[in-house]
């Protein structure tokens, strides 16, 4: 069969969409950071005289029902939405990855105990945990992020564990062991490069989901509390004016759609990238 596969080797194709998505995301992050340092308007300053204005030089995207500048709120909302999503994602990674590494490498009892704990967390869907936490601790972005971390870390732990389980069986790990490398060194040098690709793919795909989750919960009032700008919350606030000023909803809605789309494109690109490499290896 080796003869066949030799001629079926896939050419590595270069994907512009992934690069474009990455550039757009970096651009958005840059704009958001720039806004943070150079605020033109106070996002929370209400001015009822100027409420529900259309586009103007002073307010490029107009003002909302309380006379606040929509562009400023949109950009600062990005900080809330993207920032908290990143925070939740990073925390999930920091908990999940080491958990999976230890579980997969040690096997046996450690593995069994760790994985039963993970299964326990997996038993509850994220929505339920978020609602229960809000009920117990009160609504707020902190509790929402906590709920997301509690659910998301499990999938990273499981992913890393399965990769480590498969790879640590291979002979190169055996050779490393007979060469006296400590488990930490083996994990760092020999196993980490294998999991980093998988984790990046899952993380970039998850990022979009977390943004949606945070927006959704803010929309129903369990996430970011007013008057802090957040895309989901902004959607909810502009709901009563949907008939007269639909663009108020469209701005924040579109922002969510675009960012989620971009992260998904990036995720797809990363997945293709790492998959192609794998095929050539085999």
């Amino acid at each position: 069969m080796s003869g066949l596969s030799l001629h079926l080797q896939k050419l590595k194709k270069f994907s512009w969409s992934g690069i474009a998505a990455l550039i757009c995301l970096i651009f958005i992050l840059f704009v958001v950071l720039y806004t943070f340092f150079h605020l033109q308007h106070d996002p929370n300053l209400t001015n009822l005289d100027e409420r529900l204005q259309g586009m103007s030089l002073q307010h490029p995207l107009g003002t909302d029902q309380l006379g606040r500048d929509v562009l400023t709120r949109l950009l600062l909302g990005a900080q809330q939405t993207i920032g908290y999503s990143l925070l939740a994602l990073l925390a999930a990674l920091i908990i999940g990855v080491p958990f999976g590494l230890i579980s997969g490498y040690k096997r046996g009892l450690v593995d069994r105990v760790f994985m039963r704990i993970a299964d326990g967390f997996l038993a509850f869907p994220d929505t339920i945990i978020a609602i229960v936490l809000s009920g117990l601790l009160g609504p707020g972005i902190g509790n929402l992020v906590l709920a997301i971390i509690m659910v998301k870390w499990v999938s990273y732990a499981r992913l890393v564990r399965s990769t480590v389980l498969a790879e640590s069986q291979k002979e190169y790990v055996l050779v490393a062991r007979t060469n006296g490398l400590s488990p930490i060194k083996i994990i760092r040098k020999h196993l980490f490069p294998h999991i980093i690709g998988h984790v990046l793919v899952l993380a970039s795909l998850d990022f979009g989901k977390i943004i949606l989750l945070i927006s959704a919960f803010s929309y129903i009032g369990l996430g970011v509390q007013p008057p802090t700008p957040e895309w989901g919350a902004m959607l909810n606030e502009s709901r009563p004016y949907f008939q007269t000023r639909p663009e108020l909803m469209i701005y924040s809605g579109l922002a969510i759609v675009v960012v989620v789309l971009l992260t998904n494109m990036l995720g797809d690109y990363l997945r293709d990238h790492f998959d192609v490499k794998k095929e050539v290896e085999q």
Binding site: M1, S2, G3, L4, L6, H7, L8
Partner: protein, 266 residues
Amino acid sequence: MILSMEQVSIRSGEKKIIDNVPFSIDKGEWFALVGQSGSGKSILSRAIGQLLPKNFQVEGKILLNEEDLCSLSPKQMRTIRGQTLSYIFQDYQGTFTPFRTIGQHLEEYQKVHGNLDTRQRKIKSIEALHSVGLDEAFYSSYPFQLSGGQLQRASIAIALLLSPDLLIADEITTALDSVSGHRILELLAKKQKEIGCTILFITHDWRHVRRYADRIAIMKDGVIVESGGKHRILDHPKHAYTKQLIHATPILGKGLLSGLQEVGKE
């Protein structure tokens, strides 16, 4: 003459994998095709049964029993596969569907080729197992319960079940250790004597076949560099590549490489 190839070329896209290969196999002989991995010998063997993926184009004529296989419809080809032409592959694990028993495999082939009597099928299956030295218990065992050598025996049983005219054995001993491989070859030689089928044996190591083959062809990069009787090829190689192959492989015995002295003129 059971199989003859007339100027067969196989290309995949721009790349020519097999270049103008001519050879013919006489009825009842053991023909060995020897070549390194990547020489195209497996692709050539698959071309005979029309088993290549769509992106390979086959040119030339492949005649099996005077019939051009390239011109047959897929349906006609299906009746030929299994009945007049059968295969055994290197990967004995992959040859069997993991969740079906050995018996189910054996029955399926008979059913496909027209044997509809359940009892008769079972009797024939068990007979086939006995004939390759496996006892009745293996009839209801699953592939993973058998060792490599046993699985390869079962493959032989399946391949010879419908008494094909031509058996293509593609590296069947490569994945086995030398002892099991040796026993498989002995079995195959014995079966050939019994039913008189023709064997096209593909291997990368000429030592595997030096005792059994009648004729040998040496293949390199899609071209047959030398072919002829075993004695001629092994004891008096002409082509530099053949010499290199023979030189690279250590053997233990003294005497002729073709092993003719040991086998005698039986």
